[in-house]
Each structure stands twice: as C-alpha cells, then as structure tokens.
Symmetry: C2
Subunit: 149 residues, 2 copies
C-alpha cells in the first residue's frame, strides 16, 4: 500500500468512498463525472500549501483517503496544528489495517511539519471511530461544535 | 466596538488575553516583547489568505480576539468550513456582549466566504463556553479529539 497526494483523476474514487458511509450517503453526490462543486473544492485544496488530500492505493485501487490541514495559530505559544477531515477506508478493506496505516502516516507528516497537536472531530454516533482514534492516542477532552449555515 | 484584522502591533495584547485564562495560564508565555514563536506564527497566519486573526477594539483597547480559518474540503459536496480558534474576551469585558458580537461577525464572515458550516472545539471543562456556543446555534454532535505530539 502506498500513500500519496491525490490528483484530480482520483476524485471519482474518493467521492465514491465519501458516499459509501452511513452519514455520507445523505450528504454526497456520487455521480460520475463528479459534480463541479467537488472539482472546485479539489482545485482550492490542491493550490493551498497547507492542504494535503491523501489517498492510499493498493493493487491499483484507491482504498482510503484523508485530508490534512496545517493550521498556524497563536495559542499554545504559536503552535501549529494538524487537522484531519474526510477520513474513509473503502468498505471492502475495513478491518484490514488501512485506516491505522493512514493515520500513522498522517501523524508522522504532522510531526515533520512541526505541529504540536493533531486534531479531528468525529460524529458522536460513530462509536467505533471514537475507539479507533482513542487506540491511536487521541483524547476526547473537547466538544466538537458545529453550526450549519 | 470595531472588529478588524490583527496587526503585529496587537500581538502583546492578544497574547495577554490568551494567557489570562484558566487553561491558557499554563500554556502561554505572556512576556513582552513577545516570544519569537508567536511572532513567527503570526507571520504565517498573516501571509495565508485562508487565515484571519481578528481583534475587537473599544476605546483604543483590544477587548477580544478570535482566529478564523477557511478550510476547503471534498466532504459534503465540496463544502468549505469556517473554523474558529483562540477565542478570548478581555477579563474586564466578560459578560458585556463582546463575545457575542465577535461571533455574530465571524459567522457572517464565514457566510460571505461561502462556508456551509462553522466549527470549533471547546474543552469539556469550559461548561459556560459550551452554553455560550449553544445559544449561538452550535450543536455538540461531535467529539473533539486531540493528540499531543
């Protein structure tokens, strides 16, 4: 399995993974060619040096993805944060260690960039995900609060 | 009260507010001139079009601050998120509506930038902060998970 920066050609596979999920099903549009909103968002990420959309590839297939955002900030003596969003493992690969390898890689990337913290939010209904993150050392000391506009 | 983009000259006032807080006291360095780590982090934020360090000013004094980060992403049909960190109101001004005004302004900025969501995390020990965010419409449906590096 290799982990690399996503290209526009990976978009259909990424979107299919985002949609193949209990919560994602209601939120995503898995049509192909991709909805232009995904193409525009990908272009914005691709142009931003503090964004890294990562895919895991095995045997020519995209088997996982996550988005890394590097955030400078003043709090905690000017500490950078690594933030993780859009985590998915292909349903055929769940339980195979793909997610764990992706996270070990992501945490190491954050370390290389000088981040003092890695953070993410996970829907409280995803009890297995919470356990997965706790096994990696994440602590749920914060509330993740969201306001839809 | 006006809300504007912070300049490097505001750093001592911002750091003093970050440090004047139950959790911040242990994490920040309120020495002046500022620790170079703050100066470097501010320069990184200032150069990034997806970062906006905001200060609220009243009668020539800095009375509040927050950091806005605009995050492009593929999830939810390529939705942008507005993220808020480093929220502080000067202790002399707490309860005066400064925080509420700052947040109304920040939410409106996120709307103008086309964000579909505003998100933040708050330490679970800050019970008053959680209530403040809920009054603004934020919902604590997510766990905010952090891993210190």
């Amino acid at each position: 399995m290799i982990i690399r920066k996503a290209t526009a050609a990976d978009l259909p596979a990424i979107i299919a993974m985002l949609a193949d999920d209990e919560l994602g099903r209601k939120r995503e549009d898995a049509s192909n060619p991709p909805n232009p909103a995904y193409v525009a968002a990908f272009a914005a990420m691709d142009a931003d040096p503090n964004q890294f959309m990562a895919v895991a590839e095995a045997g020519g297939d995209i088997v996982g993805c996550l988005q890394l955002t590097y955030i400078p900030g003043l709090s905690r003596k000017g500490m950078w944060r690594g933030q993780i969003e859009s985590v998915r493992v292909a349903s055929s690969q769940r339980g195979s260690g793909v997610g764990h390898k992706l996270f070990e890689w992501a945490i190491e990337e954050c370390r290389k960039r000088g981040c003092g913290l890695v953070q993410l939010t996970t829907d409280k209904s995803r009890t297995e995900a919470k356990r997965f993150y706790e096994n990696l050392g994440f602590v749920a000391e914060h509330e993740g609060m969201k306001l839809s506009l």
